[in-house]
Structure formats: structure tokens, C-alpha cells
Amino acid sequence: MQNTLLQGLYVLSGLVSLFTAISALTDAKHPARLGTALFWSLLGLIFIFGELIPSLLVGVMILIMGVLTALNRVSFGSMTGASDDFRLQQAKRIGAWLFIPALSIAVFAFGIAQFTTLGGLVGLGIGAVVATVLALAITKAPAKTAINDGSRLLQQIGSASILPQLLAALGALFNAAGVGQVIAEGISAVIPSHNVIFGVIAYAVGMALFTIIMGNAFAAFAVITAGIGVPFVLSQGANPAVAGILALTAGYCGTLMTPMAANFNVVPAAVLEMRDKNGVMKTQVPIALAMLVIHIVLILVLAF
């Protein structure tokens, strides 16, 4: 039952991607029409057919997608959102009812995860379908508007939407190639390998430092979890769900302190017209350091 529903969810996700491909293809003013359409078609096909396609072929398809983004052939088209006036006017007309569909996604995702055996993902999918129906009823918009807006948003998010999946795949490759062992050997020269406290400190601080260097906690997570998390923390009997999520947010403490995360730290300083372009980071450093220490304590207390 859960698997059938999950397959259905993959098909729906794939359809969103295919609709995005179609909307790019029919967008005469699109700056990268064919590349963008090809990118979202390939993703849509992988989502819908999944295991039916040989893994090697999926690998090749992903490689093609990578070449398209590297050559800058995946971009946003000429679709536009609603005007400011329209949005303000509609917000006034509909009022707080707008929040009901928005909240129903979370309510279903959490409720189904908590009270059934179907899991949060199936809940997310059911919530999304319910929310779409509610939103169409409340706004009285034609269904086509929802499809167009979905395509517009996905083009806006762009190729970054598959980054988490690629990073998990990178983790798998690092694992197969034995990268984790190399890092683990290097670290065990510095810290005692059976000491839980040192292991947790190395995992959390490693996440924060790597995130500071790369500006991206998601990317750091794949590397540091293979290299430090598994050998020094998870293999010592830590609860993997607890240690994993807390290590990721320990990485976010690094995000608060690095100019590499320009979107969060440097761009806002400019948006708010600050004199000091490092002003946002300087404000965040005390909280970030305190939260990093707290994360180490939380992992030690909650995961063991």
C-alpha cells in the first residue's frame, strides 16, 4: 500500500517536471528553450519510470543533465507571476482563508506520519493534492493556473532542485570508493577512536567548518557523515536519525558565519543597505557559536 502510494507520488512529481518541460518548450521567448525542456523531461522520465530504466542509463541521463547545467542551458523563461496590484486585491478579497490550503500540507504530512504507517512522504503527497483542490475552490482559479504556476516556480528553483539527490548519490559513490575510511584514518590519528565525546565534537565541528568552507551544509553533510559521522558516532551506537539531523543543523551554524553562503549573509546586507557588508555575519556569530555548543550537547544527550 505504502509503496503503491509512493509510486503514485513519484508519477505526480514526474508530471510536474514534464509540464515544466512543455511550458519551457512552448515559451517562444525562452532564452534556453531546448536545454531547459530536455532537462525537465529527463528528470520527469526518471521520476515516472524509475526502476524500469536500467541504472546505467539513468546515470547517463543524469550526466546529460549535468552537461546542460554546466553549459548554462537550463534557465528561467518568460513566464510572469501576478502583478502586485492583483495580489494585494486578491489577498483582501480572500483574506486569511488563503492559509488553510497552505497549512493543510503540513497537517497531512505530520498527521499521516504520526498516526498511520504510511509515512510522512505519502502524507506530503496527499496533503499536496488536498491543498490544491482547496486552493482551487477558495481562489476560484482555473486548474490550468495551478499547473502554470507550478512550472514557473520549478523553473525559478531550477537545477538546484535535484542537488540534495545528487549529494546523496555522491555519498554513495564516496562510500563505494572508500573515501570515508581515508578521512576516518586521518582523524583517528588526532582523536581517540572509541571516545564518544570526541567523536561527537569532531562530527559537529567538522560539519560547521566544512560548511564554512563550502557555504553549503547539504554538501558538507554527505562528506562529513561518510568520513566522521559513521565511523566515530553512528558506529558507537548513536541513534542515526537524531545524530544525523543535529549534525546537519550544526552545519547550519557554520552557514551563519560564512561569506560563502552569500544568499543568506552577504546579499541581505546589501538588500538592507548596511555599511558593513559583513554586518549580518557579525551579528550572527555569537548565536551561531552558542548553538554549535548546544548541538554537541544535544547529540550527546539525545542520541545516546
Binding site: L6, Y10, S13, I46, F47, E51, I53, S55, V58, G59, M61, I62, A70, N72, A82, Q89, Q90, A91, L98, F99, A102, A106, A109, A113, G119, A135, I138, A141, D149, L153, S161, Q165, L166, A168, A169, G171, L173, N175, G178, V179, I183, M214, G215, N216, V230, L234, A241, V242, I245, L246, L248, T255, L256, V271, M274, V280, T283, I287, L298, L302
Partner: protein, 231 residues
């Protein structure tokens, strides 16, 4: 040591702001090759892992409804409700926004953003409150209030988002750990993010209230002196 070349490629690729997707792919392929895997083997592992982790990208199904709600003024409605708040100090306004932002992130509401919320709404409200109680602010104090207003958006967003059971972060952890041989349930990870979200909210509020107190003591001790020099 040579096996670490993939890590190095990632660091350099991100540092030079090369295309992220391409950097990750090249790093994976090179790592596989130096780890004595053939190209077809690397692509097979890549393809299999990608298909196995499709659940990480199912947020696609929520995009049509989110796009539709934004077209019909979801953010404008939220801004209208926040702007009706009557609060006296900058620190209190920032604290209230911290709670709203964290809860919004935890239920996966896309409310927030430096461009959409902080600049047009939260910063003017906080600045207005501060100058109402302290008079004309010095540049340094305005600068600090801007720093706090930018920071509150990040604090709430970062520490609240993983409370949502299907957030990108939770699914990344689920996907990466299962590829490394540790299968976990998304709900367990999401629940473990709750204490951090609560503590971050409290710490942020301490920072904002601290600013209020600093401002109050600075401008109340200065006010009489100003009057004196005016006489």
C-alpha cells in the same frame, strides 16, 4: 590520500562558484575512478542512488498549489497580519517575528525572505519602534538593528525548517544515511529537530531583548546631557 581528490574538487568548485550540479557530478565520477571503479560502474551507482532517493525531491507536487496561493496574495496577507501587531520595542517585534518565522518554517510555509518580508516590513517596524522610544538613532544603532533584522530571518528559517517531516534537510539526512547503510524514519529525524528550534528561538530572543536594553540605557542616560548642552 588520492581518494580525497573528490572532496578537494567540491571545495574548489564551490569556492570558485562553478555550476553546482556539474561540480558534484565531476567530484563523484573522479572519486569513483580513483577508487578503482570503472566509468560504467560509477554511472550505475549514480543512477541507482538517484532513483532510490527520488523521495528527496517529491516537494515538486507542492509547487502548483504554492504558486497558486502566492499568485492570490498569500505573502501579502501574512504581511498585512504582521503589520497589525502593536508592539513597543524593536526587540519585541524581532522576537515575535522569530516565533512566527520558526513556526512557519516548521510547517513548511514559504513565508519570509529578506526581500519579501524583512526589508519592506520587519525592518521599518523595528526601526520605527526604536526611534519612537529612543528618539533619533545614531548610525551605529541603525546598523545593528539592520544586522538583527537580517539575522532573525536566517535563525528562524535554519533552525525551524527541519521540524517539517518532509523538509529538504530531513530528506537529505534520510537519503544520505540510508545510502551509508543506516535506514531511518523521516519522522524520527524531524522530532529530533524540535529542541534545537526551541533553543534557537530563546537565544535569539535574548539577543533582541539585549539590544533593547542597550538602546534604552544609552539613550536615557544621554538625553539629559543633550538637553544641558542645548541650554
Amino acid at each position: 590520500m588520492i581518494k580525497l581528490i573528490g572532496v578537494l574538487l567540491i571545495i574548489l568548485g564551490f569556492a570558485f562558484k562553478l555550476d553546482t550540479i556539474a561540480v558534484v557530478l565531476v567530484s563523484g565520477i573522479v572519486t569513483g575512478m580513483v577508487g578503482a571503479l570503472g566509468l560504467s560502474e560509477v554511472l550505475t551507482i549514480l543512477g541507482k542512488a538517484f532513483v532510490d532517493t527520488r523521495y528527496m525531491t517529491v516537494f515538486l507536487v507542492t509547487l502548483p498549489v504554492i504558486g497558486l496561493l502566492e499568485r492570490y496574495g498569500l505573502k501579502e496577507q501574512a504581511a498585512e497580519m504582521i503589520s497589525r501587531l502593536k508592539t513597543v520595542t524593536a526587540g519585541k517585534i524581532l522576537s515575535i517575528y522569530m516565533v512566527i518565522r520558526t513556526v512557519a518554517a516548521a510547517v513548511s510555509l514559504r513565508l519570509g525572505g529578506h526581500v519579501q518580508f524583512i526589508r519592506p516590513l520587519i525592518l521599518p517596524m523595528a526601526e520605527g519602534a526604536a526611534s519612537k522610544s529612543s528618539g533619533e538613532l545614531e548610525t551605529q544603532d541603525v546598523e545593528e538593528i539592520k544586522g538583527l533584522a537580517a539575522a532573525v530571518e536566517n535563525y528562524g528559517n535554519f533552525f525551524g525548517q527541519n521540524v517539517f517531516v518532509a523538509s529538504g534537510g530531513v530528506l537529505l539526512v534520510v537519503g544520505t544515511l540510508s545510502e551509508l547503510g543506516y535506514p531511518i524514519e523521516p519522522l524520527d529525524a524531524a522530532k529530533a529537530a524540535i529542541p534545537g528550534a526551541v533553543i534557537a528561538t530563546l537565544l535569539a530572543i535574548v539577543q533582541f531583548i539585549w539590544y533593547d536594553r542597550k538602546l534604552r540605557s544609552k539613550y536615557t542616560t544621554k538625553a539629559p546631557r543633550n538637553r544641558q548642552s542645548g541650554e
